[in-house]
């Protein structure tokens, strides 16, 4: 965050000032009340200090609202505001002074308002021991909603004034607002639990409630770690497969990227996008089952040799079948050489019979082949390859996916691979023909029928 505009400074100043005024105005409670403020404040500091970006834009882990909302029930509006103000002691590195000031003001103000709303809605402040528990659920729900809305309105204001999307750190872009409000409400519910248990478990209440949450968070961190490890491993193994053919190195990776571009363009669900990413990476593993001398043959292929090449999608399926992917990814790998007009292989499916993943993969596959250098020709420029895709659109490729891919390339561009530099040791890893290249089909000896 470089420089704040005057309007933004004024806004932050106002938020902090209002928060300070309402809190200083009191009333405060007795010593016991102060002790509870300290305990809940400490809890908030712990939350604030351990809040991390597990996966930016996907997971905002901010249980802060559970502490402030518990305070709203147990200690009333002023106590809640004080607990919210403890945000300033958070030991998280990263936020600047202005960010910290704003976060503190925002948390204090929203907590105070939540406390006010809780009382106004008929909630009784104090440990819920004395009052029947049921009577506070309604007011609490209202308070939690007000708390979340206040937070996000204030936040939206500062984002608008600074037009700095990263201003509030982990509270990411505006589009996420709904998700964030929902997660805030979810954590808010834990505030009710803390308040409810305060009478029987006292200071241990937050500890007991948070153990499962921290364990969950640990597991989420493990998920992220495993996911990374997994991707790296698949990538490395695909590269190992590609070492067999000098010119197609990086092909899998690029096909994967291309397929994801198409998938995103047509609005596939996140889970399916992930699956098609792996399908792209693994679509050609079956090539290993094709004898090297066939892949590297310069002359025309005999029918048997052509058949061996046509078998590679099936071989690929054999290899990846046992991986717990979506079935769609498997179907994609198996059918990525089918053509819309039904003249592809291995099954000769046509039109809609071809699985969607396969139709997507086919476009990205052919496009990367055309924009890469081959032993028999140089790399084609992107425009020429697009024209070629368009030419075969409707016969070989699904027009919808060709359009989607072209649109995505126009917007995001396409990184064609560098022409490979041939080293002496690579001389025996050159393929003379490429089965993926639609503009130069494999040459097969015509046999008399």
């Amino acid at each position: 965050m470089a420089r704040l505009s005057w309007a933004a400074r004024l806004y932050i100043g106002a938020v902090v000032l209002v928060a300070a005024v309402v809190i200083v105005h009191g009333p405060f409670g007795d010593l016991r009340w102060w002790r509870n403020v300290a305990v809940l404040g400490l809890l908030l500091v712990v939350f604030e200090s351990t809040a991390t970006l597990l996966r930016p834009r996907q997971l905002a882990w901010s249980p802060n609202s559970s502490a402030t909302l518990a305070a709203a029930v147990l200690l009333g509006p002023v106590g809640a505001g004080l607990v919210g103000a403890c945000t300033m002691f958070g030991m998280r590195r990263g936020p600047s002074v202005a960010q910290r000031a704003f976060n503190t003001g925002m948390m204090a103000l929203s907590a105070y308002l939540a406390g006010r709303v809780f009382v106004a809605a008929g909630g009784q402040v104090g440990t819920p021991h004395a009052t029947p528990f049921r009577t506070i659920i309604g007011p609490f729900a209202v308070a939690a909603v007000v708390h979340a809305l206040t937070n996000h309105t204030l936040l939206a204001g500062v984002l608008w004034l600074t037009s700095d999307r990263d201003f509030a750190g982990r509270r990411a872009p505006l589009g996420m607002s709904i998700k964030l409000i929902a997660s805030d409400l979810g954590y808010g519910a834990f505030g009710l639990l803390i308040a409810a248990l305060w009478s029987v478990a006292g200071l241990f209440a937050p500890v007991l409630i948070l153990i499962p949450l921290f364990v969950a968070r640990w597991a989420v961190a493990q998920i992220a770690e495993q996911q990374q490890a997994y991707e790296a491993t698949v990538g490395a193994l695909c590269q190992a497969v590609e070492t067999k053919d000098f010119y197609t190195r990086g092909h899998s990776d690029r096909v994967s990227r291309g397929s994801v571009m198409i998938a995103r363009e047509i609005g596939m669900r996140g889970e399916r996008v992930e699956a098609i990413r792996y399908a792209g990476m693994l679509h050609d593993v079956g090539k290993l089952g094709v004898p090297t001398k066939v892949l590297q043959k310069t002359g025309k292929l005999t029918e048997e040799e052509y058949a061996a090449i046509q078998l590679h999608p099936m071989r690929g399926l054999d290899i990846v079948r046992e991986i717990g992917f979506l079935d769609e990814a498997l179907a994609g790998i198996m059918h990525h050489h089918e053509r819309i007009d039904g003249r592809g292989y291995p099954m000769g499916l046509a039109g809609d019979e071809i699985p969607e993943f396969a139709r997507v993969l086919a476009v990205a596959d052919a496009f990367d082949s055309m924009t890469s250098t081959r032993s028999y020709r140089g790399a084609r420029p992107v425009e020429e390859a697009v024209a070629e895709l368009r030419k075969w659109s409707g016969t070989q490729f699904d027009p919808a996916f060709v359009d989607a891919f072209v649109a995505a390339i126009k917007r995001d561009g396409w990184q064609s691979p560098e022409p490979p530099v041939l080293a002496a040791e690579d001389l025996n890893t050159i393929a003379a023909q490429d089965h993926d290249d639609p503009s130069t089909p494999l040459r097969v000896i015509d046999s008399p029928r």
Partner: protein
């Protein structure tokens, strides 16, 4: 499919072995006695009993498989613990007996296991028996005390006692599960226990905390506490399920991609899988802990991946038959591939050094990138996992998919002759024990 026949992990004659039998009988005795007692006395507070029974059944439906084929039911366990530790529900003091806890828990478990049965996933009897015994243990200690005025009125005392009991239950579960695994997989008890605790600790902490929470909160909220306080555990469980799913996919993927060398004609079909099974069995025999065992499995699966970089497959794919230099080159190429995955650093090291003689290389040859010789001139020994893979790989190259015990014995003998410098005697002896057990089953 033929390789399935000599799968090393589960031996047909051990499926119903003494340990499991003892466990099931113990659980059965407790159960029958409890049901009889409950039937005679009648159900106390049926409303509460049904509520907890439903929670336990729900938890059993949402059973979870943790890495390493461990079956758990966190929500069911938390519910059962809470029922055992319950003091009051609202203003009403809970006075159900320990026998009733066991009965309700069992009924809940059985009801919850039905949907699994319906879709053809039978429950593991051992897992359910262990869970039942743990709950019974807590119930028989705590139920007689639950009405005690000291406990009811001294919050701190109740809290510490309940915490201690929850910890006890989880420890007992770890010990019993470890014992079962010793039987099932021929692991060492010490190793199995440590592994069990390491895997179960995070989820166990969440289960224990939730059990206590439900028991306490029932006093304030009544039975609504059951639904409300299951929520945090549900979140945890969802996260764990995804974690276990990714772990499983990861292993499946490495297994699948290890087959690439077979399809490419570089190695004999089934070689990687057989070597990895044998290596894991040997590693377990030698007391390797689970995280390292997983690395050993990955390394064994991928030990021939370097062959992909060869232009022409080695005839028959038997690496034991080619020259030392070529072997080393394959190992290093393979290690380079794995190294690119970054996260598998130690796996790369294991693969890189899989061909070294077990005493280590005296003079590092040119281009050798293993660990340098130690300063005192002693050559550094390759990691234990590398030594195991070396022996397992050689064994499989000699025996292949053959099931002939004579051939296996001859191969072991041949490895033994080379233990002076080449193969680790310890690994070869462990391998010999594993192979002998396998032969016994086949005869």
């Amino acid at each position: 499919m033929t390789e399935r026949r000599h799968e090393l992990r589960r031996f047909p004659w051990q499926v119903r072995d003494s340990g499991l039998l003892l466990l099931v009988v113990a659980a059965g005795v407790v159960l029958v006695a409890s049901v009889a007692q409950t039937a005679v006395e009648g159900l106390r507070d049926p409303r509460i009993a049904v509520a907890f029974g439903v929670l336990i059944a729900f938890g059993e439906v949402l059973r979870l498989n943790l890495p390493g084929d461990r079956e758990t039911a966190p929500i069911g366990m938390a519910g059962a613990l809470a029922y055992a530790l319950l003091i009051r529900v609202g203003d009403h003091s809970a006075q159900h007996s320990a026998e009733q806890v066991v009965t309700v828990t069992t009924i809940g478990m059985i009801v919850g296991a039905l949907p699994h049965l319906a879709v053809g996933r039978p429950a593991k009897v051992s897992g359910m028996s262990i869970r039942l015994l743990c709950v019974a243990c807590v119930a028989f200690i705590f139920r007689p005390l639950a009405g005690n005025s000291e406990i009811v009125h001294h919050w701190g005392l109740a809290f510490s006692l309940m915490t201690a009991l929850a910890v006890l239950a989880l420890l007992l579960e770890a010990v019993l599960t470890a014992l079962m695994r010793v039987d099932e997989q021929r692991a060492l008890f010490r190793v199995a226990l440590v592994d069990e605790m390491r895997v179960q600790l995070p989820l166990g902490a969440a289960v224990g905390a939730s059990g206590l929470l439900i028991a306490f909160a029932a006093e304030v909220m009544g039975l609504a506490a059951l639904a409300v306080f299951t929520a945090p555990l549900l979140v945890t469980q969802v996260a764990f399920r995804r974690y276990a799913g990714i772990r499983a996919t990861y292993l499946q993927t490495v297994r699948a991609l290890a087959k690439v060398t077979e399809i490419g004609g570089y190695v004999e079909p089934g070689h990687s899988e057989r070597v990895s099974r044998l290596a894991v069995a040997v590693g377990r025999e030698l007391g390797i802990h689970e995280p390292q065992l997983l690395e050993l499995e990955y390394a064994a699966l991928m030990h021939d991946i370097g062959q992909l970089s060869l232009a022409d497959p080695i005839p028959g794919g038997a690496t034991v038959l080619v020259s030392r230099q070529d072997q080393q080159r394959i190992a290093e190429l393979g290690a380079d591939v794995i190294q690119q995955a970054q996260v598998l650093g130690s796996v790369a090291e294991i693969v890189r050094r899989q061909n070294e003689p077990y005493r280590g290389v005296e003079v590092a040859h040119e281009g050798y990138r293993g660990r340098p010789a130690r300063l005192d001139g002693e050559p550094s020994r390759p990691p234990l996992s590398s030594r195991i893979i070396k022996a397992a790989n050689a064994f499989d190259d000699l025996v292949g998919s053959s099931l002939d015990p004579g051939r296996a014995a001859a191969a072991v003998q041949q490895l033994r002759l080379d233990t002076a410098s080449e193969y680790d005697p310890e690994a070869v002896e462990a391998l010999s024990r594993v192979v002998n057990r396998r032969s016994v089953i086949q005869l």
